[in-house]
Symmetry: C2
Subunit: 817 residues, 2 copies
């Protein structure tokens, strides 16, 4: 209960604050309602259209299926899918490879110059010049990254929130374009090489998703020249399946974790489980992991044809140093209890991180006008300068010089041995600076050192490093550069874990079995506290360590960290999704929703069309509303009890009553004059539900001039084919852009031939819980509410099912009682 | 296309053959249709009731929710669920531990005696006596196992097909009882110790599932004394969630593969993905793995508090012997091509195995009367004797004596070192018998030897071992003893893989990177060919080897093996499910189903009730039909177009027309005399759909005397509460067992107050593809078909959606055109 009330408080606070942004609208305005307020809101809500996972089984599609089945064997499409899947995995692996290599190159260049200068200046006392060198490099790199991000704002951040939204069924504009891929994958090179506390893994996942989304289309909106007639996978459904695969491949390449990748795309996205799809996703992950592995192993040791470097991050083999007689242990039952406490603290730390980052992001959103791009650039430069200076100065003044161990610190990687570099800045020969080793190594190397190097960091250094890194990383995430969150969180958490191990040893005299385990557990605890992922994160970490026996501690710690973090706020990805007021659907509806009915949440202000509609009316309808779907109705012949089309939830705003009109006309020969929808609506007459038609379909019909003269010809059957409907996928022309010849008013469109006659429907008395599971489980976009008599009562969209909307409704309902 | 036709041929052949079993019924008789033929079929079809994953949101349940929410916090139930989940995992781990320990004990006892005798007799030349000793032990052990299985037949086999059916949504009687658990877990000790070629892993998974199903109920049907009033989880939905957890825990304990366990229960069962449930399942797996691990590690080396033995099967660490400079490789790109071929052959071998086993099982079903239990016992004894004799004689005569290597063959287990025992039967001192080493070691040890011992087996020995083991294992699976399939298949496949490695080396001179990899790949190929699992099997094998870099070869091989096996037949589990004619729902409907409509497959012979029904009519209805659900209808007030209640698919059998009557009466005050259902049906009048009521609910209403006097009293509201409805869960009383006082004919039951008013429905024109996904995705049991006017047209159950039924319908449809 405490959790709920704390979270509710937060939500209320932020829904107040976010009021400022959306001019005069509250955050969660459902599409259908908001569109009645005029132009400017329509656009902002149109930003978040739903994807349609359910196929539209209308007549053109069924005809297409029949034709297709006659021409092709079942196998062809399946083989194509597998080839595409492999290509996505392979390309994602290649993108990861290129990012890894270029980042290394840039870093080597930078550190090569700076190292030399420091070595020189430590003697000559001109360290300010070294700092200036470093600043010059870092600021220059960050400027490149920031400029790319400002040019293509969707490329900022980690991209994981956006992927999560996409897989949840929300179309986010520009998220999956070729130019976003370029901006992201080039930008991340420079933000990582620029010494910012960001990771390259999130952007890699985003890159994989873009490849998954774009490649099977064989066309590009950025480069209009890339366009083929090949149109097998041009539906939201197919696209989303490939995006799942691409995202999984991204995780797989980044962490060498193919199983974790599959679970990531399941956990973040899917609402259903399909064996075939999951197996294909897994194949995609494997293709990414092992194509990366192949090239990385080849380039690394020039032994082509072998596969031993499992991914970009490799935590190395945890090899215990204990005596062999009783077997080798990495942790004991006693440690488990300490891990639970560490998990709790990690969750709290994560919650603090999230709260700070949320306030910062909110501050940015409210105070920085998106048009003033220069501010965003300046902030990025400022972050780069502050980060560099703090790292440099703290290493110089606060780091401890420690003796370099005689035997070189070789850490067995999973299948190869890598020597870890310590940084000897500001120290005598034979000594190294522990703070500099953490700050000036690539983050992956620093993590490995915390995991494996026993006794090489002092407690004060770890504590200072943790605090500085914590705040700087918090500031950085949200600056407009491509910036992952995984690896910085792991590094931060590893320092925390290592600190705990030292603390236990030095203060309580408790000798831990293996201090690397503590670093790993600390990393898991902090990362878990920040992102609140469960099963996929566990598996990613198990796979990265290649050590199944870490399963229990990692799971336990993530569970506790998620629980303790959830007491205060949500995961960071969810926070950023909420800040953008994206209508994300959670896993389950609120428990109180069981007592609510569909009729309480549905939108009952409807814009309907009749099976035969005048062209002029259709154009007017499309131009004046932003709805993406229109129910098709006929007048019911018997006058049953009166139907209130203005639903109970909207009685209050009567001044908008005039909006509830229907811009349609009808020419259904069954009706003799009294079936005019306006009349139906005004007289509250029942409307028999016939089916649904999408805006995109209506636009395509108009574009293809699919009309006929009233009372002159028979309605033409099937003049517009399925292929014509998907030609413009995914961006259908705007109604304003259509060239429609002037017609005499009698032309009619035979909507009835193209509607989806049998969508899933629910009853007005269906509980919200059932509605929610149907909507989420089937991946719907619109759900008509039809009463037991077959009359249309309303429509439910994603906006009517978000937790915020439902909680408000529950609140209203409770107040009524 | 070839695949399909081959498989269809098989299916037709077997549907003809299986005709013998079901007296005079074809195999796939849908519940609603079959019930019209009389008593004996009703029983056989009742065997396969569906489970209901969708909650029944009727009034009593809503009231209960409201009451519950007022009394309890949200958290309580969640905490209870987690505690239960932990308990299930822990107990499953303990069962695995007990099985493992006792099997070891029994084996040690047996081999202790036999070893001594062989040592003695090798000198004295009395090896027949040693064989007799061995026979005595094995036959005695197998008799125990067989007797337990004959006493409780569901305990036979691996139990995985049954679990798969259960998770698919089919209730299989006796599958989850305490006495089944006892029979299975005791029986498997003796079948494994009895030297049969069976594994203990399948039974372990079944045990886990039983614990998952039984424990949260806190009652037992076997021991009626165990019964508590505690009734939180007494719905199909909750139970199935726990069974998923239990099955996952079983896999996790058996293979030390917690992630594989979760994926197993997802792949075999779930049709949807829920983050919370998956996380809980994962927790259950982890609890099982690590509680087993804790005790095993403690008992093994007496070092309590550590966790290093990851599961019952442990394939040991694959440590390459190649030079360290270029890193360590376990396989190369060239090997991959060979693996693909091995996968293909493995798939074919698996298909042969399955075909043979299918013919054998069919032979058993047709020729052995289930009542003649003695035959089943004799067969088990025969198998035990033949297996023992063949193993003994072939080891004696065909095995090669090879020199025992000087340094002991220690294989590093994941975290401990185990010395592998070679068997020196029939050889001189310092030599061992390679065939005996394979036959007379526990299968897990034999697998480890094939995986790790380089060059210790001769090609002829491997070939002979493979052939003998293949046929004996094929015969054994299906004999009435508890018998797993995983480990025998792995052993058989490992011999095949090792043979390939030797073959390549000796014939082509191709030096494999690491011959253990070939054994592993061979094991995966053969097991994949037999069971045709995909992602879960891959993950289980990766986890068992604790080597992430085997991901690619294992996945590739399983993919190819599944594909090549699928050319010929289905996986063995599916074959056994089909043999029992269980109406399992596949992942997707046949592609042709896209062109079919719901009205073509629905059952339109309906037995309906009215909202107010006479008690006598209800009793008659329940006694004369076996339906598990009854639609509730009222007469539609307007006479729209006539509705044909005898659907188009049944016009042929007109002699059954008289069956289409309604044993109901009605007293709906809205109707004035002409609403009699019989009349409705005879006059083909439309029936307005009001909701659904379950047989169990009607029985409960009658049991609780929930009726009122006609025209005397008001219908009483809510006299039967939700708690009363679930008192008898899961076995509701039979209508014949109810004690109903004699009433004057006017008592009525207010069915309307207890019906589920808003189930999911579909239109008659909805495509079968949509229907299928709704039914499977939401885990439904009954799906009413309601037309756009709100009139009930038919009902779809699981039987109308099996591939066999749909393919027949498609066939009919194609013939019509």
């Amino acid at each position: 209960m405490a959790t709920d009330s704390i979270r509710k408080c937060w939500r209320r606070l932020f829904s107040c604050l976010s009021f400022n942004r959306n001019s005069n609208e509250t955050v969660r305005v459902p599409l259908l309602r908001s569109s009645q307020h005029g132009g400017h809101n329509v656009v902002s809500n149109k930003d978040y259209e739903s994807l349609d996972y359910d196929r539209c089984w209308n007549k053109p599609y069924l005809d297409y299926r029949e034709r297709y089945e006659k021409q092709h064997s079942d196998r062809k499409l399946e083989i194509l899918q597998w080839i595409m899947t492999f290509a996505i995995g392979f390309l994602t692996g290649m993108v990861a490879l290129y990012i890894d290599l270029i980042v290394k190159l840039l870093s080597d260049w930078k550190f090569g110059t700076v190292d030399k200068s420091i070595l020189q200046c430590s003697k000559d006392g001109c360290l300010v010049i070294s700092l200036l060198y470093l600043l010059l490099f870092n600021v220059a790199f960050v400027i490149v990254a920031a400029c790319l991000t400002i040019y293509e704002p969707v490329a900022g951040g980690s991209g994981i929130p956006e992927i999560k939204c996409y897989l949840n069924g929300i179309k986010i504009p520009r998220i999956a374009r070729l130019q976003t891929l370029v901006a992201k994958s080039v930008g991340v090179l420079f933000s990582v090489a620029g010494g910012l506390f960001v990771g390259k893994e999130g952007p890699m996942i985003h890159s994989g998703a873009i490849i998954g989304s774009g490649l099977p289309q064989l066309q590009s909106i950025t480069l209009k020249k890339i366009n083929s007639k090949y149109s097998y996978f041009r539906t939201d459904r197919d696209k989303r399946d490939f995006v799942s695969g691409g995202a999984a491949a991204g995780v797989a390449a980044a962490f060498g974790a193919p199983i974790g990748g599959v679970l990531f795309s399941l956990e973040e996205g899917s609402s259903f489980w399909n064996q075939k799809l999951t197996w294909r996703t897994f194949f995609c992950s494997m293709a990414a992991t092992f194509s990366l592995n192949f090239f990385l192993s080849g380039i690394d040791s020039n032994s082509w044809g072998y596969f031993y470097l499992p991914g970009l991050i490799d935590f190395g083999t945890f090899e215990c140093q204990s005596e062999k007689t009783t077997g080798c242990h990495l942790w004991s039952a006693v440690d488990l209890f300490i891990f639970v406490i560490m998990g709790f603290i990690g969750g709290c730390l994560g919650a603090i991180f999230n709260t700070l980052n949320k306030s910062l992001s909110l501050h940015r959103m409210i105070n920085v006008n998106p048009k003033h791009k220069i501010f965003r650039l300046l902030e990025a430069i400022l972050v780069a300068m502050v980060t560099t200076t703090i790292a440099f100065v703290s290493a110089m003044t606060l780091g401890q010089c420690r003796k370099i161990p005689l035997k070189p610190s070789i850490i067995n990687s999973t299948r190869s041995s890598v020597e870890l570099t310590v940084r000897d800045y500001f120290c005598e020969d034979g000594y190294y600076n522990d703070m500099a080793t953490l700050f000036f190594n690539p983050q992956e190397i620093a993590i490995k050192q915390l995991f494996h190097q026993a006794g090489t960091f002092s407690m004060p250094s770890l504590a200072i490093f943790f605090i500085l890194f914590f705040f700087l990383a918090c500031w950085t995430y949200g600056v407009s550069v491509p910036s992952g969150l995984f690896v910085p969180s792991l590094l931060c958490g590893a320092a925390y874990g290592r600190f705990v191990a030292l603390f236990l040893e030095q203060v309580f005299g408790y000798k831990t079995v293996y201090s690397g385990t503590y670093a790993l557990v600390g990393a898991a605890a902090f990362l878990g506290g920040v992102v609140r992922m469960t099963i996929s994160l566990t598996v990613i970490l198990i796979e990265s360590t290649n050590e199944i026996s870490y399963g229990l501690p990692i799971m336990l710690v993530l569970m506790v960290a998620k629980w303790s973090g959830d007491l205060f706020n949500e995961g960071l990805y969810d926070i950023h999704i909420n800040l953008k007021s994206v209508p994300l659907l959670e896993w389950d509806p609120p428990t109180e929703a069981a007592r609510m009915k569909a009729k309480a949440i549905m939108d009952s202000r409807l814009k309907v069309v009749f099976p035969q509609t005048r062209v002029a009316s259709l154009i007017r309808l499309l131009k004046t509303t932003a709805h993406n779907v229109f129910p098709v109705v006929t007048a019911a012949r018997d006058d049953c009890s009166a139907v209130t089309l203005v639903g109970p939830s909207q009685e209050a705003d009567l001044q908008e009553q005039d909006d509830v009109e229907c811009f349609v006309n009808q020419n259904n020969s069954n009706q003799d004059g009294d079936g005019n929808p306006i009349e139906l609506l005004q007289r509250n007459l029942p409307m028999k539900f016939e089916g649904m038609i999408l805006r995109s379909q209506l636009v395509t019909l108009l574009k293809n001039h699919a009309w006929y003269k009233e009372n002159v010809e028979e309605p033409p059957r099937d003049t517009v084919s399925y292929e014509e409907f998907i030609t413009d996928y995914p961006r259908y022309p705007d109604i304003y852009d259509l060239q429609i010849p002037t017609l005499d008013g009698e032309a009619l469109v035979d909507v009835g031939a193209y509607l989806n006659p049998c969508p899933y429907t629910v009853y007005p008395e269906t509980t919200v819980s059932q509605v929610f599971h149907l909507f989420r489980g089937m991946g719907l976009r619109h759900l008509p509410v039809v009463c037991h008599k077959g009359e249309l009562k309303g429509i439910i969209t994603r906006h009517n099912l978000t937790h915020e909307f439902l909680e408000e409704k529950i609140h209203e309902q409770n107040q009524e009682h």
